[in-house]
């Protein structure tokens, strides 16, 4: 009760209470010494504030006001600091959306892939066959072709062939866009609607000894040679299948050349036909068990075509090879014909230039702290220009392109 009366003291002081409340307050004041003291204290505060003097306008106020009016014109002054109040809900909504997006992105579990060091020292992920995307699944394109009607079979086949020509190198390029990274060529899972072309490439890229790849156009026959659809079947004869496979194979070979890959070896294959047991090739195919070339040789220089930024241009590397097996493996991996030049191991080491066909070493300079390999694009393939003998050292090797 006292608290309610106490709150009304302020209004009582101002004469702002209705009669009934005013009488109740007066009764309480008469009865309670505390109430009376509280009222006096509030009255003293009120008097103190009322005692603040009224002041006259500063000299020149009117002139300054007019001057400011003229200066500001009709533009209303800005009361806000950053954003007009009307835009604040929008800004809040946008910032909330951004935060939500970032939080959502952070909460996504990334795919964990095993890591290893690649040829040029970078850390790269290794994918298993099961994880590899169906890079050559052309079922969508074939389905579109199917809709064009079986009556126009010849035209449809031509369209399919053209699209496959376009698609195959692009897909390969994407898959191998980082030279030096592990290379995985996986078999496409033949979808129910995947036609002969898909199956044809599946045969091409199926895990098998590398030597089997060129024979891939002789793809397995079966239901994959036809396209099943609601309007019937599009049959492919042997000639058409061969043409499609030939085109895919050609694109594949071009991509290999662009990547500087001599051939692709199945990582599970035991027999590679190489004196080194295929260990050097393992680096190309990035078997998890194989030590990287960078680790083994201890010295690898690499340069990528164009500027220092990452690009899809082929990477050029110089390998400091200290054993004849390593040289032989690198030679074979580059697909070079004949025997590598003689190098007097172990007093000497072989500087091997790993690059696409048509390049060669100009000179090798052994400097104080590193070995500089100058190379250029000759336009023709001279295997002997890929190797230089040099006094064996642990110095790092760098590659530089000259015109």
């Amino acid at each position: 009760m006292n608290d309610q009366i106490r709150e009304k003291l302020s209004a009582y002081l101002d004469g702002a209470l209705p009669d009934a409340e005013r009488q109740a307050v007066e009764l309480e004041i008469a009865r309670s010494e505390d109430m009376r003291l509280e009222l006096e204290a509030l009255r003293a505060v009120s008097s103190a504030v009322k005692g603040l003097p009224r002041e006259k306008l500063p000299d020149g106020f009117a002139a300054r006001l007019e001057s400011r009016r003229a200066r500001e014109g009709s533009t209303p002054p800005r009361d806000y600091f950053i954003l007009p109040p009307a835009y604040r809900p929008l800004a809040f909504a946008l910032s909330t959306a951004v935060v939500a997006l970032v939080v959502w992105d952070r909460t996504q579990t990334p795919d964990i892939v095993p890591q290893r060091v690649g040829w040029d020292g970078e850390t790269v992920g290794i994918k298993s066959a099961a994880e590899a995307p169906p890079s050559f699944d052309v079922s969508g394109r074939l389905a579109a072709m199917e809709e064009a009607g079986s009556a126009d079979k010849a035209a449809a086949n031509e369209l399919t062939a053209k699209k496959e020509d376009d698609a195959a190198p692009a897909t390969l390029g994407k898959q191998h866009s980082a030279p030096g990274k592990p290379l995985e060529i996986q078999e496409s899972e033949p979808a129910p609607s995947a036609g002969g072309a898909g199956a044809g490439f599946a045969a091409l890229s199926a895990p098998a000894p590398a030597d089997s790849i060129p024979t891939a156009p002789a793809s397995p026959p079966s239901a994959a040679d036809t396209i099943e659809g609601s309007t019937g079947y599009i049959a492919r004869n042997e000639e058409e299948r061969s043409a499609i496979n030939e085109r895919l194979y050609k694109g594949f070979e071009e991509e290999k050349k662009r990547m500087g890959i001599a051939r692709i070896v199945d990582k599970d294959a035991e027999e590679t036909g190489l004196a080194s047991g295929g260990r050097d090739l393992m680096a190309l195919q990035a078997s998890p068990e194989a030590p990287s070339v960078a680790q083994r040789t201890g010295s690898v220089g690499a340069v990528r075509g164009g500027s220092g930024r990452r690009s899809s241009a082929p990477i050029v590397k110089a390998l400091a090879l200290k054993t004849p097996e390593a040289l032989l493996a690198a030679w074979a991996a580059a697909g070079l014909a004949g025997e590598p030049p003689a190098v007097k191991f172990p007093g000497e080491m072989a500087v091997f230039l790993a690059c696409p066909p048509g390049c060669g070493i100009v000179s090798v300079q052994s400097r104080k702290k590193l070995v500089v390999v100058l190379y250029k694009d000759t336009g023709y393939d001279d295997p002997s220009a890929r190797v230089r003998a040099l006094a064996s050292s642990e110095k790092p090797v760098v590659v530089k392109r000259v015109e």
């Binding site: 709150e7 003291l9 302020s10 209004a11 101002d14 702002a16 204290a41 509030l42 003293a44 505060v45 009120s46 103190a48 504030v49 009322k50 005692g51 603040l52 003097p53 009224r54 002041e55 006259k56 306008l57 500063p58 106020f61 009117a62 300054r64 006001l65 400011r68 009016r69 500001e72 009709s74 209303p76 002054p77 009361d79 806000y80 600091f81 950053i82």
Partner: protein
Amino acid sequence: VSEQEFLEKHSELVFNLALRLTGNRSDAEDLAQDALIRALRALPGFRGDSQLSTWVYRITVNAWKNRVRAEKSRGFWKTISFGAFGNKDEDEPVYEPAGNDAPLDTELEKEGTNAVVQKALLQLDADDRAIVVLREIEERSYGEIAEVLGLAEGTVKSRLFRARAKLKLLLAKAPA
């Protein structure tokens, strides 16, 4: 009402209200000019729904509250920017609050009770300060104060009581 008549009648009123709200003559003049320019701009649209003085009070109090909000925003962003990106020592001199024996208190002693009361007023929050000033100095009724501040009359009544109680405590703590 012509602009000239309006200014003659309300300039001093607005300046005094601004002086008690801001606590110093410089800010008061700036706020008063701001409020008067706004009022002059809006004067042709004044419909006479309320007293002209109440209308001018409302413009002045709103202009002042906008400034208080803007100052708070500046303070917030300054804190953020100095804290995150810069060395405060290099960006601006460190602000040191006045101690008990600083010149400010000496000045307060000279000016006596009025300065103490003004200092206590400045410690009230914006709405409470405006309520006390409009009631005690401008002698406006609860209804007019409610209209100026856009509050319910009951709210004005209860907040005035709390503001007076707080002032009582502040003045009791102030040096004699």
